[in-house]
């Protein structure tokens, strides 16, 4: 999976976990400022990543990401 595909996939996962329209999300979307940052949604996102990308990201590592781009970087490093 190349970087562009990964970014698209991550945005889809975030959209599902946070019940948002994927079109409203960008790589610069902030988890805390734009999405509210509730832990239960972050748990949903980590689950989505496991389901869709077969990648195991610790909740604390995901929660430390400020933007979707930061999460893409983290997932890319794990793949």
């Amino acid at each position: 999976m190349d970087r562009a595909e990964l970014e698209k996939k991550l945005i889809e996962c975030v959209a599902i976990a946070y019940s948002k329209d994927a079109a409203s999300l960008t790589l610069d979307t902030s988890f805390k400022n734009d999405l509210g940052g509730a832990s239960v949604q972050m748990v949903g996102l980590v689950s989505q990543l496991e389901n869709e990308l077969d990648v195991f990201i610790q909740l604390a590592d995901a929660a430390a990401c400020e933007t979707i781009k930061d999460l893409v970087d983290k997932v890319e490093a794990e793949l």
């Binding site: 832990s39 239960v40 748990v43 980590v46 496991e50 389901n51 077969d54 909740l59 604390a60």
Partner: protein, 334 residues
């Protein structure tokens, strides 16, 4: 008579299957064994069955008290996974679930999610974070609830409240800085918890430094908004505020400060703190100056009962928490 005596009596009449994913731990196995042997629960040891059986024998326990579930039993695991992924709204798919279930904590919760157990009891080897994560991922939150939280029960000598010496307080342990929606969830969950555990009719006060507008500012605004959300979501519950602590629990103060009808003012049996700073300090004050016995914290907000015990807890405390969890599970089914 202990506060827990009536709860122990209810447990005996409604035996629940409690899953123990940390049974290799000596204190946990002892607590599971004694509560099972004394007839309060059906203890289900989830893990490597050969290891659990060997440890039970070594520790001198009658094996027949336990039900053993082996996490290496692929046939049973497949059955649980199939039932789990067939449920609506579950977070993990088959492959991810199978991997997670290599950990007994997730295996136990998966069993609970599909009705093979009523409670998962852990926290002596796993951290609170581990238990909360697994609970949110596998058991999930109740509809309309936005955060996991906790409630504790204080038995305060000399306190003459609406439930005698008892008072339920929360959240003093889990949700650090709840927003208004989360604070509303804490209040709603707390009402459900005391109803399940103690069969109380909950009267829940949202407390802060203001009584009905006597103080102003963003800290008060959050509590007022939380109250509005809680009342909108659960009009069946008596949740009221914003009250100062004395207006919540002292009838004479309530009569002076609360100049409107309230089912809660002056007779609250549940207090909801505005954040964890208040909650932690308040509980320490109750214990230090009020010489209270504290029970819990009990996790709440999950679709079914998950219990996280303190890693330093003695066996007697673990047993009490096991029985309280079982009673909550039994009553939540009614």
């Amino acid at each position: 008579m202990s506060v827990l005596d009536p709860i122990y009596a209810v447990a005996k009449e409604n035996l629940q299957k409690v899953a123990f994913p940390e049974a290799t731990n000596e204190k946990m196995m002892q607590a599971a064994y004694e509560t099972g042997k004394e007839g309060y629960i059906i203890p289900v040891l989830v893990g490597d069955t050969a290891q659990n059986k060997a440890l039970a024998a070594e520790r001198g326990y009658d094996e027949s008290v336990f039900t053993f579930v082996d996490i290496h039993d692929e046939e049973y695991k497949s059955k649980v996974i199939a039932a789990y992924v067939a449920k609506p709204g579950t977070m993990l798919k088959e492959k991810a679930m199978s991997r997670r279930m290599e950990n007994p904590l997730y295996f136990a919760m998966a069993m609970q999610a599909v009705g093979e157990a009523d409670v998962t009891f852990a926290g002596i080897d796993n951290t609170t974070g581990d238990v909360l994560l697994a609970g949110q991922m596998i058991i999930g939150l109740k509809p309309g609830i936005t955060t996991v939280s906790s409630i504790g029960l204080a038995d305060i000598p000399g306190f003459q409240g609406s439930e005698g010496t008892l008072l339920a307080v929360g959240d003093s342990a889990v949700c650090t800085n709840p927003n208004a929606e989360q604070l509303a969830s804490i209040a709603i969950s707390a009402c459900d918890t005391v109803k399940e555990l103690l069969d109380w009719e909950p009267r829940c006060a949202m407390v802060c430094y203001s009584t009905l507008g006597s103080g102003q500012g963003e800290l008060i605004d959050k509590v007022k908004e939380a109250l509005r959300i809680a009342n909108e979501k659960r009009p069946d519950l008596a949740i009221d505020g914003e009250f100062q602590l004395d207006a919540a629990i002292v009838p004479a103060v309530a009569a002076k400060k609360v100049n409107r009808e309230s089912k809660v003012a002056g007779k609250a049996n549940v207090l909801i703190w505005p954040d964890l700073n208040v909650g932690n300090v308040a509980v320490k004050l109750i214990q230090q100056f009020g010489h209270a016995d504290a029970y819990g914290p009990m996790l709440q907000g999950f679709n079914s009962i998950v219990c996280d015990c303190s890693r330093g807890a003695p066996v007697s405390e673990i047993k009490g928490n096991i029985v309280m969890s079982a009673v909550r599970a039994a009553r939540s089914k009614k």
